[in-house]
């Protein structure tokens, strides 16, 4: 199952839900404060010109994370983001079926 992908593997245009945090210490707290708790929806928006860091849409705010730090966040199955923010709703079957490929 797609339960253990690091957030750093999420490409621009893809979204996924957080399943667990692996980061420890103050970074763990910081990620939680940004809203990266299990169940939260994250969309990868774009890479910076040199590829790292990447910008993510997290609970309505755009946050840049370095790849190294994003590795500490585990996400579930990625799907294509529609561009509109989705709050709390579950995926439609079409999305599950259509965008399951990683």
């Amino acid at each position: 199952m797609y339960q253990n992908n690091p957030l750093s593997r999420l490409g621009p245009g893809q979204a996924a839900r957080v399943t667990a945090l692996e980061a420890q210490g103050s970074m763990r707290r910081r990620l939680q404060d940004l809203g990266l708790t299990p169940g939260a929806l994250v969309e990868c928006l774009y890479k910076s010109p040199l590829g790292d860091p990447r910008a993510y849409l997290i609970r309505g705010a755009v946050i840049a994370l370095r790849q190294k730090d994003a590795e500490g966040v585990r996400t579930g199955r990625p799907f294509a983001a529609s561009g509109e923010e989705r709050r709390g709703e579950s995926l439609t079957p079409a999305q599950e079926a259509g965008y399951g490929a990683y």
Binding site: L45, L57, R59, G60, A64
Partner: protein, 707 residues
């Protein structure tokens, strides 16, 4: 880049949490909130102060205080640094938390961004747990409305159990009601909450229940017992020290508490749960009171893609900076000449008037040839570029572009073992290096903060920009004129700044490999929504708050320095002037680096302010040679050439101006921020050594090329 007396003066680093109260019946309210929610705008609107506001996170780097008077009573408002949480242990968060704990505020005002309520409520809940006598200010309602976000304020107030006021602080809406509520809260504090705001699940609640009796005794009514119990469970960090200081005893070391904790077993999971419960409660609350998601608009999405894509990100960045410098150079040219002509004409008339009084000749020389001319030069050369550069840069800042620069550049800083937010402190350095050094507080890791402080001086501040511009246009433009010339000099200026940036990278990398070893710490940066800059306000504010302030400071240094240089040029010792002696003494050393004694002396005398270096050089040459009309650039060039300048001298002067010791204000600020003379000495040494080394290289290569 808050460039005011407070942020650049000697008070820059002092008094983070100290509260200045006038009279005992004065009331205090603390303003807390996430970064970039318009906290400073609310603060300014209420206190009629002009704390600089900008559209990037972490701008308020220390607490600011202001007063407002209502119905015969004084209110002190404290603007706390923006933070996402009170639990993450960064310097700003600690400052905010400690003030809320023991700062003695009567109430807290939590400022939220209406269009991003869920994330903001996380901090709100934490503040309310710590400071129950609080109210919520839902700001940026106008912006949220445009994004189609509606917030049910009465419902939010019911759910949170505190007053909620909606505001649009930039338009001045809702502020009266906000102060009414502050007044009410100060006079009649909210009763104790019956049910806790956030519930943490059975296991945690049971632990809290067991800790509560002892926590209540330890808290002594200074902080809520439930909050203290939670922090004990959370454990550790700087909070222990703050608590030990505020309560007279570290609760974690209390035997009874330790007993309970021992019985509880592992607490790792508990800590996660505290954070997770707060976040999910915030999600629940936001869901209950907001309609439609809001957040990130399609327009911002498109703009961001353009500003940060691999193809267009860097070119746009370069073009924007080029455009700003070009406008500064092209626009400042004519006003500078007019100002210089006008001031010198005025000086001559005043001098004639003064002469009719029959003063001794030395006094005339001292006042007019020494003080007035240096002053006039500083004003003529500095005022026009600053009056153009500052508003333009502030517009860029207000728009929200600077965090995108940090996003684009982060990779480079990461390679150097530094923090991406260093781009922001570099941007601040264009205004003033002292402000840039204070700004380094936005960097969490102490190691990376020191790197940013030690390298800040490689970015030329506005005191040095005019000098660079005039040297570039005097020596490197040749016969080109008009549009081509100004574009070319903007390009060269960007090149020089690029050199400074390159040195920043190199030295950062060197430091993190040697003196400041360590792994790069984590990095999170918010990219705030773009906001339409308030053009009129920006122009007025940046001229009055920044330009005139900086100019005043430069003038205050220029006048006495002009006096000193005139005295040195005219006091004769053993057949030669003091200036000739000093310059002669420095000359052999300076020649090694492509400079001459006068230039090096000017840099040394320019320690209080870099603005006066070029005027000092000119004054020194003038005192030794013949008088020329200075408003004419050709005459100025002739004067320099007459004194042995070649393009190599100009290049070395430019390089040395980018890389030499920081001005005295910056040095003192570094001392305050780093709490160490050792690091301050290093901050002086590093750029000086780099500058001298590079100048030596340039000079030697040019000699070899000629031979």
């Amino acid at each position: 880049m808050g460039l005011t007396k407070n942020s650049t003066g000697l008070g820059a680093a002092g008094g983070d949490v100290a509260l200045v109260k006038g009279s005992p019946d004065q009331r205090t309210a603390a303003l807390a909130g996430n970064p970039n929610v318009g906290k400073s705008t609310v603060f300014n609107a209420l206190t009629k102060m002009r704390q600089h506001t900008g559209n990037w996170p972490g701008k308020t780097v220390s607490t600011a205080q202001g007063r407002c008077r209502r119905q015969g009573r004084d209110y002190v408002l404290v603007d706390l640094p923006g933070c996402y949480s009170l639990l993450s242990h960064s310097a700003e968060e600690e400052a905010a938390r400690d003030f809320l704990c023991f700062g003695g505020a009567d109430c807290a005002v939590v400022v939220c961004d209406a269009s991003c309520l869920e994330r903001n409520l996380n901090l709100t809940l934490q503040v309310l747990e710590l400071k129950p006598n609080a109210l919520l200010c839902v700001n940026l309602l106008d912006e949220a409305r445009r994004k189609g976000v509606a917030v049910d304020l009465p419902q939010l107030s019911r759910l949170l159990g505190v007053p909620v006021v909606g505001t649009a602080a930039r338009e001045g809406q809702g502020l009266e009601e906000l102060m009414d509520q502050v007044e009410r809260l100060c006079a009649h504090p909210l009763p104790q909450r019956e049910r806790p705001l956030v519930e943490y699940g059975p296991r945690l609640e049971e632990l809290i229940r067991r800790l509560l009796p002892r926590a209540d005794q330890l808290a002594q009514g200074k902080v809520p017992a439930r909050w203290l119990a939670l922090r004990i469970l959370d454990g550790g960090g700087s909070l222990d020290q703050a608590l030990a200081q505020g309560l007279g005893q570290n609760p974690a070391e209390d035997p009874e508490i330790q007993d309970i904790l021992r019985q509880a077993g592992s607490l790792a999971e508990v800590r996660d749960q505290i954070a997770a419960c707060t976040v999910s409660r915030a999600e629940e609350l936001a869901g209950a009171v907001t309609r439609t998601g809001g957040g990130y608009s399609q327009r911002d999405r498109k703009l961001d893609r353009l500003l940060t894509s691999p193809l267009t990100g860097f070119p746009i960045m370069l073009l924007l900076f080029l455009l700003i410098f070009w406008l500064t150079i092209a626009g400042a040219n004519v006003p500078s000449q007019l100002l210089s002509q006008g001031l010198f004409w005025l000086g001559d008339r005043l001098r004639e008037g003064f002469l009719t009084l029959g003063p001794p000749q030395w006094l005339t020389g001292l006042l007019w040839d020494g003080m007035y001319k240096t002053l006039a030069w500083v004003v003529a050369v500095m005022l026009p570029p600053m009056a153009i550069f500052f508003p333009l840069f502030t517009l860029l800042e207000d728009l929200g572009y600077l965090p995108r620069v940090a996003f684009n550049m982060d990779r480079c800083f990461q390679c150097c073992g530094a923090c991406g937010k260093q781009s922001l402190t570099c941007c601040m350095a264009f205004g003033c290096n002292a402000a840039g050094v204070v700004g380094c507080r936005i960097i969490d890791s102490p190691r990376e903060r020191l790197i940013a402080m030690l390298t800040n001086n490689f970015i030329p501040c506005n005191g040095r920009l005019p000098m660079l511009i005039s040297l570039i246009s005097l020596f490197f433009l040749g016969a080109a004129g008009g549009l081509g010339a100004s574009v070319l000099s903007a390009l060269l200026l960007v090149g020089v700044i690029g050199l400074g940036l390159l040195m920043t990278f190199a030295v950062s990398k060197f430091l993190s490999a040697t003196l400041l070893k360590g792994t790069p710490s984590s990095f999170t940066l918010e990219l705030p929504p773009f906001r339409r800059p308030q053009t009129g306000k920006v122009i007025v504010r940046s001229i009055f708050d920044r330009t005139l302030f900086v100019l005043g400071r430069a003038a205050a240094v220029a006048a006495p320095a002009g006096l000193v240089i005139w005295l040195m040029a005219n006091v004769q010792v053993a057949g030669a002037s003091l200036l000739a002696h000093c310059a002669g003494f420095l000359d052999p050393f300076a020649r090694l680096f492509g400079l001459d004694g006068v230039i090096l002396l000017a840099f040394i005398l320019g320690l209080p302010a870099n603005e006066i270096v070029i005027p000092l050089i000119i004054m020194a040459y003038l005192a030794q040679g013949s008088l020329v009309e200075l408003s004419d650039p050709l005459a100025l060039r002739a004067l320099l050439v007459e004194n042995g300048w070649t393009w190599v001298t100009a290049l070395c002067t430019i390089v040395f101006s980018v890389m030499h010791w920081p001005c005295s204000t910056t040095c003192l600020t570094i001392r305050k921020e780093s709490q160490s003379w050792k690091w301050t000495a290093l901050a002086v040494l590093i750029p000086t050594v780099c500058g001298l080394g590079l100048c030596f290289l340039i000079h030697t290569v040019s000699l070899l090329a000629q031979a």
